[in-house]
């Protein structure tokens, strides 16, 4: 893993400066400044309502900011026309939290869709490319299934296959481990690391899963109530003297310390069984 200094020497791929956004009268993001460099995995972390999903939607061009600037691959996103956004979208891939697979299409058709829409490749070539991506995601042989026939982990991996089918420069992943059991979650994390190492992608992951964030991140941005608390390496975040960051980290540990027997006993009023 590269050090923070090495990463910061690389060219910037995403530059956000003084980003402010409102929903109605309420200010959601209060002047976000961050730079994401080539080939790094940046994890945007925070609790519910911290603004991490809103920030991601701005990076994807799905929301209009009140003020500030977002530069993706050197292009100003906030003033782009619809057509310019569509062109830029060909250089990025997104794996949504729910997978967002099209239920009327098979796994193979879902993965091939960007190729069908944006390239003039013949069908055979597209199918070969689709099978390669499914193979990387350990989904070979599943191309004829529909999303309804897939498990949660398989849906996430199919979403990743679709997101990387055009070999994007930047990959965005929204809560890639959410709702998965620890084993499958670890598999998805390894997949993200493989994508960075094998395809040299810049990867932006939004998550509230601390274990996952600490496993995959080169650097972490900690968001709280629409403000960045810190940007740093895993160790820098873990050892941060900032009390708000420590509160965020400790809340996870408190939740993990709940003993299911004691919890049940409290609910039912029975004695604890050990």
């Amino acid at each position: 893993m590269a050090s923070a200094g090495e990463i910061e020497e690389r060219p910037a791929v995403i530059e956000v400066s003084n980003l402010v956004t409102h929903y109605g009268d309420r200010e959601i993001l209060h002047g976000i400044d961050m730079t994401i460099h080539e080939g790094e995995i940046m994890v945007i972390m925070g609790g519910s309502g911290s603004g991490k999903t809103t920030l991601l939607r701005h990076l994807l061009g799905l929301e209009k900011a009140t003020s500030g600037s977002i530069k993706l691959l050197g292009q100003e996103l906030t003033t782009m026309s619809e057509f310019e956004l569509y062109e830029l979208a060909k250089k990025t891939g997104v794996a949504f939290q729910s997978g967002a697979l099209f239920s009327s299409m098979t796994v193979g058709e879902n993965v091939m869709l960007p190729l069908v829409e944006h390239t003039r490749l013949d069908r055979e070539t597209m199918e070969i490319m689709m099978r390669i991506k499914l193979e990387i995601m350990k989904l070979a042989g599943f191309e004829d299934l529909t999303p309804a026939e897939l498990s949660g982990g398989m849906i996430k991996r199919t979403a990743f296959a679709r997101a990387v089918i055009m070999d994007p420069t930047i990959l965005f992943a929204d809560e890639p481990s959410a709702g998965l059991d620890p084993v499958v979650s670890r598999t998805v994390d390894e997949l993200i690391l493989d994508l960075r190492d094998a395809m040299r992608m810049t990867i932006v992951v939004v998550t509230h899963e601390l274990d996952s964030a600490f496993r995959i991140a080169d650097r972490i941005t900690v968001l709280d109530k629409g403000t960045i608390l810190t940007i740093g390496t895993v160790d820098e975040v873990k050892n941060s003297p900032n009390q708000r960051i420590q509160n965020l980290l400790n809340r996870r540990f408190e939740e993990e310390e709940i003993d299911p027997d004691e919890y049940l006993a409290r609910l039912t009023g029975n004695e604890v069984k050990h």
Binding site: L85, Y86, A89, Q97, A100, L101, S103, E117, R162
Partner: protein
């Protein structure tokens, strides 16, 4: 003092009611505006799609045509035939009082081609395809599939709305033509059995009385109905909030709004085209 205390809540109720009416009116205008801009955008992508790298592909259009048109043939056949026969039964029953039973052929021919065939087909399509469109778009919105299209560089109107709109505009008039044929045939069977008229004589009379304008009257209406059902299905589907319950709500809304719009448009169309 007593007056002001008593009038305060009444005013509040009135103000609340007026506010609700005002908000509903604004929502109706907003939806109408959104629907109009959606139509304009759909036409834009249909014409400019290839030049802008957003081609409208024939496969989804054919798939929609199968769903909207071909799979609706059995139910359109059944209901149109039933309505044709019902019109013949009622017509003969009423005209018998004047000894003019044979005039029923005129009533059935005009009634079916100008009014009932487009109306029943429009209502069926609203129930089958308009609701399906709203449910699909609602589910896609909730599942982030519409966002997924945008971030893949695909315009959702071009990808989702245009194929449905083309399919509806082609298949609804085609279904109305089919409904014309089967309803007149059904009515003919009843009339020939009841009045002892041969089918040949029945069809000869029907063809004598009908002009192309009568058929076109129904077809023109059906094109408007097709556009209304598509736009209302999309507008309602896109307004989804919440989860499965929200999808259920927008689906019901789409059917109610489509059928209301079809009937009101039908009345206005009939009024406008029979003046002078």
């Amino acid at each position: 003092m007593a007056v002001s205390e008593g009038s305060q809540p009444r005013d509040s109720v009135l103000i609340r009611a007026a506010t609700r009416v005002g908000k509903s009116t604004i929502r109706v205008f907003e939806s109408a505006g959104f629907g109009a801009s959606l139509m304009a955008e759909a036409v834009y992508w249909l014409i400019m799609g290839r030049r802008k790298g957003q081609v409208v592909r024939p496969q989804p259009v054919f798939a929609e045509m199968m769903d909207v048109g071909v799979r609706a043939i059995p139910i359109v056949t059944l209901l149109s035939t039933a309505i044709g026969i019902m019109l013949a039964i009622q017509g003969i029953y009423q005209l018998k009082r004047f000894g003019a039973e044979e005039q029923v052929v005129f009533g059935v021919a005009f009634g079916m081609t100008r009014e009932f065939a487009p109306l029943i087909t429009g209502i069926l399509v609203a129930g089958r395809s308009g609701s399906a469109l709203a449910a699909r778009l609602g589910t896609m919105t909730i599942n982030q599939e519409v966002d997924a299209l945008r971030v893949m560089g695909l315009n959702p109107v071009r990808f989702l709305v245009v194929p449905s709109l083309i399919a509806m505009m082609i298949m609804v008039p085609a279904l109305v033509l089919w409904a014309d044929v089967v309803s007149l045939f059904g009515a003919g069977l009843y009339i020939s059995a009841e009045l002892g008229m041969t089918m040949t004589a029945y069809f000869q009379q029907t063809l004598d009385v009908l002009v192309v304008g009568d058929i076109m009257h129904g077809i023109q209406k059906s094109v408007i109905f097709a556009a209304l059902v598509t736009v209302i299905g999309i507008v309602d589907g896109a307004s989804v909030e919440g989860g499965a319950e929200g999808v259920g709500r927008v689906t019901t809304n789409a059917v109610v709004h489509s059928i209301s719009a079809i009937i009101l448009t039908d009345m206005l169309f009939a009024f406008a085209t029979t003046r002078g």
